[in-house]
């Protein structure tokens, strides 16, 4: 099929926007931790841009989109081999034929691979050992992310072929990273002093800035997944904005009712919850569906967060509550709101003259990603924890990651003492 410059322009821009989300996430998380740990958090996120990009080029992409079996790709694109010259990527033929250079598709997908593991760094905030993180990060990306991406995104993957829908990565990115987050916090344990000792965000303006960047970048994430500049991309962009907006409103409303005050962190968190939930749906729903999906996500995620106090797991920045739960909410609701009049590549859902088949497939996809990601993450984390260690020492944790691990202090505002 012909390369279309307009579609290519849109996908290249989208790749840039998705890359920009990782610094945005770093700031979103960084603002929420205490001042002594902000660099540790920024470092973990920026490091994903470094390590994952290189791994993706060497082998990650090939494992995800190479012509392998139902469960994993191949090594055919090892080190970008043949990618620049290949006619069509495995499975992207006939109606699925791409109108953009395979290299543009590679770039776009690289940014997804980068941000996915960055998501779970929020759960283990303030206590991860950097060396252990580095090794775990590489292993997880190759052994968890690439396979799951193959299952769902590659036309060769079993969930793709089964007919599970995931427009921009509700399962591949958010559920996947959310499960990993949960397993990691169970393995590394709570921050000392949590939940007794207050651990307030050290800079909410930083978090709000990160939220703005995430919202902005998410247009590339979701609308870019249309892989073209067309009505579907426009629909996905609109859905993305409306879900974020509605979730912000519903989250603030719950806060107002339950806590008496609407907070800026709540508004930001709600927006992100909505963005997560609409991710799998962005190119399959229309009308007011994104508003409903977002509104539900805002409420459910707020409530889900409260569980950590009940069950006592220190999901520090609520990756489980927002990404795992939000991803599930979106993937399930897609079984009710998917509408083929929006996207003929989708399937009709319960509310749109379809059967419950799609819903069942969605549940299968959710379940299998949870099980696979949960088990492999557990094994990898355990191994790394034993061999290298995943957690800093008590003294390092008390001192803070910035000086203890990175020999830096984030701020010298007085800039006069020390």
């Amino acid at each position: 099929m012909e390369i279309d410059t307009g579609n290519t322009a849109w996908v290249l821009v989208s790749a840039a926007l998705v890359l920009f989300m990782t610094p945005g996430l770093a700031l979103f998380y960084g603002g929420m931790v205490r001042a002594k740990n902000v660099l540790g958090m920024l470092m973990q996120n920026f490091f994903c841009m470094g390590l994952i990009s290189v791994l993706w080029a060497l082998v990650g992409f090939s494992l995800a989109f190479g012509d392998g079996g139902d469960f994993i790709g191949s090594f055919e694109f090892f080190g970008l081999k043949d990618l620049a010259t290949t006619e069509a990527l495995p499975g992207y033929v006939d109606d699925l034929a791409l109108t953009i250079p395979p290299m543009a598709f590679f770039a776009f997908q690289m940014m997804f691979a980068v941000i996915t593991p960055a998501l779970f760094t929020g759960a283990t905030a303030d206590r991860l050992k950097f060396g252990g993180f580095v090794v775990f990060l590489g292993l997880w990306s190759l052994l968890v992310y690439s396979p799951v991406a193959h299952w769902v995104f590659s036309p060769k993957g079993w969930l793709f072929q089964k007919g599970a829908l995931d427009f921009a990565g509700g399962a591949v990115i958010h559920i996947n990273a959310g499960v990993a987050a949960l397993v990691l916090v169970l393995i590394v344990g709570k921050r000392r002093g949590w939940p007794k000792e207050p651990m307030h965000p050290h800079s909410l303006p930083l978090t709000l800035l990160g939220t703005g960047i995430l919202w902005f970048g998410w247009f590339g994430f979701n609308a870019g997944s249309a892989l073209g500049a067309n009505g579907l991309a426009a629909q996905a962009l609109v859905n993305t904005n409306l879900a974020a907006a509605a979730a912000m409103l519903s989250w603030l409303l719950v806060e107002k009712i339950r806590d008496g005050k609407a907070t800026t962190l709540g508004g930001a968190s709600g927006a992100v919850a909505g963005l997560v939930a609409i991710t799998p749906c962005a190119g399959f729903v229309g009308g007011v569906a994104p508003i409903i999906i977002g509104a539900i996500a805002g409420i459910v995620c707020y409530l889900a967060i409260q569980l950590k106090y009940k069950f006592g797991y220190d999901d520090s920045l609520d990756v489980v509550g927002v990404h795992l739960v939000g991803g599930i909410v979106g993937s399930v609701l897609l079984g009710f709101f998917s509408d083929t009049s929006v996207n003929s590549f989708g399937f009709d859902s319960v509310f749109f003259g379809g059967s419950s088949e799609l819903l069942v497939n969605q549940l299968i996809a959710i379940g299998s990603v949870i099980v696979f990601s949960g088990v492999v993450t557990f094994v990898l984390a355990k191994i790394v924890d034993l061999v290298i260690g995943l957690r800093v020492t008590e003294d390092q944790e008390a001192e803070g990651l910035d000086t203890a691990l990175h020999a830096e202090t984030a701020y010298a505002l007085g800039g006069r003492i020390g």
Binding site: P195, P198, H200, P201, E255, R258, D259, G260, K261, T263, L265, G266, S269, Y302, I305, Q306, Y309, D318
Partner: protein
């Protein structure tokens, strides 16, 4: 010579400063502090978790003064810092054995 230390409400700093200028006070040292006392702090909520903050922002003044000027200065501070609301703060006076102006080495009275 005496050292007058005062804990006041931050937004009162300018008024107190002007009042002291009025009394011919030639200098003072000020710092940001957090106060704990009868005045209640505030509540903060982060993603549904509520925290009670006991501390209230205050400003701390230190004024070196000759024996003779102490009462006048203290009165000026109290008058200017008063809002009649809980949390107005405290003033206390301690003895100073001696004081030096670094620039000149002048001592005690001449150091001010």
């Amino acid at each position: 010579m005496k050292l007058i230390t005062a804990i006041i409400k931050p937004f009162k700093l300018d008024e107190v400063k002007e009042a002291l200028k009025g009394e011919g006070v030639s200098g003072m040292t000020v710092s940001e502090v957090q106060g704990f006392g009868r005045q209640r702090g505030h509540t903060e909520v982060y993603r549904g978790a509520e925290y009670q903050i006991d501390f209230v922002p205050k400003v701390r003044l230190e004024i070196l003064a000759g024996e003779g000027d102490v009462d006048r200065i203290v009165d000026a501070v109290v008058r200017a810092a008063k809002t009649d609301k809980i949390g107005d703060g405290k003033v206390w006076i301690t003895d100073v054995a001696s004081a030096i102006r670094i620039r000149t080495g002048e001592r005690d009275g001449d150091a001010l």
